[in-house]
C-alpha cells in the first residue's frame, strides 16, 4: 500500500508483520530446489527430457484439477473426502454411457455425478449441521459402493477415439490435452477465487463464519457451492482418467485423496479455512508430480514408492505449515 499515513501500529502488529514472509514463498523455493536437484542427480535417467517433462504434466493433471476444487472447499472451512469415490463413479457412468449411448450423453452425465454428490454433501453438511468431514466420509462409502456395484467390479473399455483424444490422450501441437485442461481450469478457478464477490465471500465464510453471517453473507449457500465445485473437479478428473486410460475401473482415484489435500496445503491453503491459493495448488501438485516421477526414475518399486510418498507428504506439509507462526 502506498501513500498511507505513517505506520503507527501496536507492538504486536509490527512483530507479526515482520515475521510473515510473502505468502507462499516456500512453495516456489521448494519447487525450484527439487527440480534442480533432480535435474542434476537424475540427468542420466532422462529426467530433463522434453518427453519426461510432458509426462509429468500429463500425470499431474488429475491431481491439479482436483486440488483447485479442494482449495475452494478448504477455503470455505470445509473438506471433501469423497473425491476419490466421485472419480470412480464418474468414470464408470461415463464409460458405460459411451458404450451404450454417445459422448454427448456420457460427458454431461459424468459431470452431473460430481454436481449431485457435491450438492448432497453441501445440503447434508449445512442442514444437518454435521461437519463435512463426516458427511463426505460417509458419502465416499456410498459413492464408492455404487461405482463397484454398477459394473460388478468389471472394467469398462472405451473405444470412442474423439472422446479419448479430447479428454486426455491427444496432443494439440506440442501440448497434451491434459495440460490444456489443467490450464483452462486453473485460469477459471484462479479468476473466480481472486476477482469475484463469490471468492471474497468464500474466504470470509471460511475465515470466520459468524462474522461472515453478520456481514450479510449467505454462508450456507457459499459452503454448499464450495463442495459442489470441489466435487465437480473430481468428476472432471474422472472424465480425464477415462480418456487417458481408454477404460474405466472402480479403482480409479482411490489413492488421490491424500495427494490432492497435500497439494492444496503445500500450496498455501489453510486447513482451517479463510486462506488459500489456486496457483499454489498447481505448484503443490507439480511438486508431488516431480517427486513421484523422480521416485520412478530412481527405480523404486511400487510399494517402496507408496512408503516414500507418505513420508514426503508429511514432511512437505509440515514444512509448508511452518510459515504460519501462529497455531
Amino acid at each position: 500500500m502506498s501513500g498511507m499515513a505513517p505506520p503507527a501500529v501496536s507492538a504486536e502488529g509490527r512483530h507479526r508483520f515482520a515475521r510473515r514472509l510473502p505468502s507462499g514463498a516456500i512453495i516456489y523455493l521448494g519447487f525450484v530446489l527439487i527440480f534442480v536437484l533432480f535435474s542434476i542427480t537424475l540427468r542420466d535417467s532422462g529426467f530433463l527430457t522434453l518427453e519426461n517433462q510432458l509426462n509429468i504434466l500429463r500425470q499431474t493433471a488429475f491431481v491439479s484439477v482436483m486440488a483447485f476444487g479442494m482449495t475452494y472447499a478448504l477455503s470455505a472451512g470445509e473438506i471433501d473426502l469423497s473425491i476419490g469415490a466421485v472419480v470412480a463413479l464418474t468414470a464408470m457412468v461415463t464409460a458405460v454411457l459411451l458404450r451404450d449411448a454417445n459422448a454427448l450423453v456420457a460427458v454431461p452425465a459424468g459431470l452431473s455425478v460430481g454436481i449431485i454428490v457435491g450438492l448432497a454433501n453441501g445440503l447434508l453438511t449445512t442442514r444437518l449441521r454435521v461437519p463435512s468431514f463426516l458427511i463426505t466420509l460417509g458419502m465416499a462409502g456410498i459413492v464408492g459402493g455404487l461405482s463397484r456395484w454398477i459394473t460388478s467390479l468389471q472394467p469398462v473399455p472405451v473405444l470412442d477415439n474423439t472422446y479419448t483424444f479430447t479428454f486426455g490422450s491427444g496432443d494439440i501441437g506440442p501440448f497434451p490435452t491434459l495440460f490444456l485442461w489443467t490450464l483452462a481450469v486453473l485460469l477459471v478457478a484462479h479468476v473466480v477465487y481472486r476477482k469475484t464477490t463469490f471468492g471474497r465471500e468464500l474466504l470470509a465464510t471460511g475465515g470466520n463464519r459468524t462474522a461472515a453471517r453478520y456481514s450479510g453473507i449467505n454462508t450456507a449457500r457459499i459452503r454448499i457451492a464450495s463442495l459442489v465445485i470441489c466435487s465437480s473437479t473430481a468428476a472432471l478428473a474422472g472424465l480425464l482418467y477415462v480418456g487417458r486410460l481408454h477404460s474405466a475401473r472402480y479403482t480409479l482415484g482411490e489413492t488421490d485423496l491424500l495427494t490432492v489435500i497435500a497439494a492444496a496445503v503445500i500450496g498455501g491453503t489453510s486447513m482451517a479455512g479463510g486462506r488459500g491459493s489456486i496457483i499454489g495448488a498447481l505448484l503443490g501438485s507439480l511438486v508431488m508430480g516431480v517427486l513421484n516421477n523422480g521416485l520412478i526414475l530412481m527405480g523404486f518399486s511400487v510399494t517402496e514408492q507408496d512408503i516414500a510418498r507418505g513420508v514426503i507428504i508429511i514432511v512437505a506439509v509440515a514444512l509448508s505449515l511452518r510459515e504460519a507462526p501462529e497455531s
Binding site: M1, M4, A5, P7, A8, V9, S10, A11, E12, G13, R14, H15, R16, F17, A18, R20, K195, T196, T197, F198, R200, E201, L203, A204, G207, N208, T210, A211, A212, R213, Y214, S215, G216, I217, N218, S270, G274, R275
Partner: protein
C-alpha cells in the same frame, strides 16, 4: 511465602516486589518502549494506563516473560529475573491474567483452575474431591461464589474472569497482572471483582491493573503509572492525581467536550425511520419503540437485561416469536442478518473478535467484507474502487495501520473496533445498531467512534446505541431506553425534560429493580 506487613514509609526498598529499570524494546527496528521504569510495592494495586499502542501490553509481556526486553533489568524481590520465558516468571510468583481467557469452555470450573496441577490420590489417579475442594478454596479466597462443577461455558463473562483470577492465584502468585479485567463486565460484576482485588492486597499480594476505566483507577488503585508512546508520562499515588491529569498524561490533551451533549435536529414528522412493535422471543418480552431520522437512542441495562438480545433480534440473528419491524413505515421481514442489511440496518456486534472480524484477513478485506457486491459488476470486483473506499475509511476513522494489507489481528483493540465500525459504515446503513462499541477501546479511539456516530445521525440516519458506559449515553443520546428482563421498563427523554445525566441513568438502571412487575414469559 512470608507475609510481611504493609509497606512502612521509610522501608520502601524492602517493600518493592517488582522493579523494572530502563526497559527498552523494539519490533522490526522501531522502538516501542523507550527505557521504561516501573516499580511495584508489596500489597499495592498499581494502575497501568495508556492508549492502545502506548506500550502497556509490551511492558507487561516483558515482565511476564512472553517477550524479552532489548535493554533494562527486572528484579523480583531484589533478585534479577533472568531470561527463561513465562515459566521463569511464573516460578518467581508472577501470574498474568489475560484479556483473552485461557480457560477451556467445555471443562468444569474446578478442573480449569487446577489444570495440569491436579491433586493425586494414592493410586496416582486424580482426586476429584480434592480438585473440587482446592478449587472452592481458591474461589473463596477472592470471595467468588461459583460452583466448581459448573462448566465454564455456562458462566457469564464476569464469573469467568473471576475463575481466571482464582486459577492464577492457585499457582502461589505474589504478583498478579490483570489485563483489562473489567472490560466485559457489568457494574455488579465489577464490584465483585474490585472486592476480590482488595481482599488479595490485604493478604500482601501486589496487583498490576491495566484498564481503560479511569474512574476505576482512582477508586481502587494505590498508585498509577501512565504510558504514552512507549514512555512514562506520569507515575504517582492516586491520591495526588485526578482523572483529568491522567488523561492529560495519556493524550497530551484533554478529552473534555467530546462527551458533552450537543443539541441536534431530529425529524419526528412522518413515519419513524425504525418502528419496532411487540418483539417477543425467548429473551425479549414485548419490546416496542420508535427511532426517528437523526435520532440517537441509547439502551441501558445490566448484562442479561436483554439489551444485546434486542440488537440481535432486530438484526435477524435471533428469531422472533412475535412482533413487527418497520423501516420508514414499510414492514420488513428480517430472518437473517442479510435481510437486515438489505433493509438498511447494520450492527456493530458486542463481540468484535467472534462476530465482527476475520482476524487473519487484511484490514482492507475486513472493511469491505459486507460490501463486495457494491464494487462488483457481473460478480467481478473493481479492486481499484474498493481500495479507494477502504482507504477513505482508514482516513476518516483514523485507523492506525501500516496499510490496507496488514492483517487485522495486528491492530490494537481500539483500531480493530474502528475497522468493524468502518465495515458497517461501508454498507451505508440508515439505521446503525451499536452494541457496546467502546468496550476495551482506548480513549482516543472511543472519541473517534463517537464522533462518527454523531456524524451519521447528523446525516439523517438513526442510531441505536447500547452502552455500559452511561457517561457515553449521557453525552450522546437523545433518549435512553432502560431495559430489564427483556423488556423496556423506562424511557428517559431529553425533550420531555428528563434528566439524562450519568447519575440519573445509573439510578434508572438500578431502580428498575423495583420497576413495573413484568411477567416473565
Amino acid at each position: 511465602m512470608t507475609a510481611p506487613p504493609a509497606a512502612s514509609v521509610d522501608g520502601l526498598a524492602t517493600s518493592v516486589v517488582l522493579a523494572a529499570h530502563g526497559i527498552r524494546k523494539s519490533f522490526s527496528g522501531v522502538e516501542v518502549l523507550h527505557g521504561v521504569d516501573f516499580t511495584l510495592r508489596r500489597g499495592e494495586v498499581h494502575g497501568l494506563v495508556g492508549q492502545n499502542g502506548a506500550g502497556k501490553s509490551t511492558l507487561v509481556k516483558i515482565i511476564d516473560g512472553a517477550y524479552t526486553g532489548d535493554a533494562g533489568e527486572i528484579q523480583v524481590n531484589g533478585v534479577p529475573l533472568g531470561p527463561g520465558g513465562p515459566g521463569a516468571s511464573r516460578k518467581r510468583g508472577i501470574a498474568m491474567v489475560f484479556q483473552e481467557f485461557s480457560l477451556i469452555p467445555a471443562m468444569p470450573v474446578g478442573q480449569n483452575i487446577l489444570l495440569s496441577r491436579e491433586p493425586k490420590g494414592r493410586t496416582g489417579l486424580i482426586d476429584d474431591r480434592g480438585v473440587r475442594r482446592q478449587a472452592r478454596d481458591a474461589l473463596a479466597r477472592i470471595g467468588a461464589d461459583i460452583d466448581p462443577d459448573r462448566l465454564v461455558e455456562e458462566l457469564p463473562v464476569g464469573s469467568r474472569q473471576l475463575v481466571e483470577i482464582a486459577k492464577a492465584l492457585s499457582q502461589d502468585a505474589s504478583v498478579l497482572i490483570l489485563d483489562e479485567p473489567t472490560a466485559s463486565l457489568a457494574a455488579a460484576e465489577i464490584r465483585v471483582l474490585t472486592e476480590a482485588v482488595r481482599k488479595l492486597t490485604a493478604d500482601g499480594l501486589s496487583v498490576v491493573y491495566i484498564t481503560h476505566h479511569l474512574d476505576e483507577v482512582v477508586a481502587i488503585c494505590d498508585r498509577v503509572t501512565v504510558l504514552r508512546d512507549g514512555a512514562v508520562t506520569l507515575s504517582a499515588p492516586t491520591s495526588e492525581v485526578t482523572i483529568s491529569t491522567i488523561i492529560e498524561g495519556m493524550l497530551g490533551r484533554s478529552l473534555e467536550g467530546t462527551l458533552a451533549y450537543q443539541p441536534h435536529d431530529v425529524d419526528r414528522t412522518g413515519a419513524p425511520l425504525l418502528r419496532v412493535a411487540g418483539l417477543r422471543n425467548r429473551r425479549l418480552n414485548d419490546v416496542s419503540f420508535d427511532l426517528h431520522r437523526g435520532e440517537i437512542v441509547g439502551v441501558a441495562g445490566l448484562l442479561g437485561s436483554g439489551r444485546s438480545e434486542l440488537m440481535r433480534a432486530v438484526f435477524g440473528v435471533d428469531g422472533l416469536d412475535a412482533g413487527t419491524i418497520q423501516i420508514g413505515g414499510r414492514q420488513v421481514d428480517i430472518r437473517r442478518p442479510g435481510d437486515a442489511l438489505a433493509a438498511g440496518i447494520a450492527l456493530v456486534p458486542e463481540d468484535r473478535g467472534r462476530a465482527g472480524l476475520v482476524r487473519e484477513h487484511s484490514v482492507g478485506h475486513n472493511i469491505l467484507m459486507a460490501a463486495w457486491r457494491r464494487f462488483a459488476r457481473a460478480g467481478f470486483i473493481n479492486d481499484e474502487a474498493a481500495r479507494r473506499t477502504a482507504e477513505g475509511f482508514v482516513e476518516q476513522l483514523n485507523i492506525r495501520t501500516t496499510g490496507l494489507d496488514q492483517e487485522v489481528k495486528g491492530l490494537s483493540g481500539g483500531n480493530q473496533q474502528k475497522v468493524v465500525v468502518a465495515k458497517n459504515l461501508s454498507v451505508k446503513p440508515s439505521v446503525l445498531l451499536l452494541d457496546d462499541p467502546t468496550v476495551g477501546v482506548d480513549v482516543g479511539s472511543r472519541r473517534e467512534i463517537l464522533v462518527q456516530v454523531r456524524e451519521l445521525a447528523a446525516e439523517g440516519n438513526g442510531i441505536l446505541l447500547v452502552s455500559s458506559e452511561f457517561e457515553e449515553l449521557s453525552g450522546i443520546a437523545d433518549r435512553v431506553l432502560v431495559m430489564k428482563d427483556g423488556a423496556v421498563v423506562r424511557v428517559l427523554d431529553r425533550d420531555a425534560g428528563d434528566d439524562l445525566s450519568q447519575e440519573a441513568i445509573t439510578r434508572a438502571v438500578q431502580s428498575s429493580e423495583v420497576g413495573p412487575a413484568e411477567t416473565q414469559g
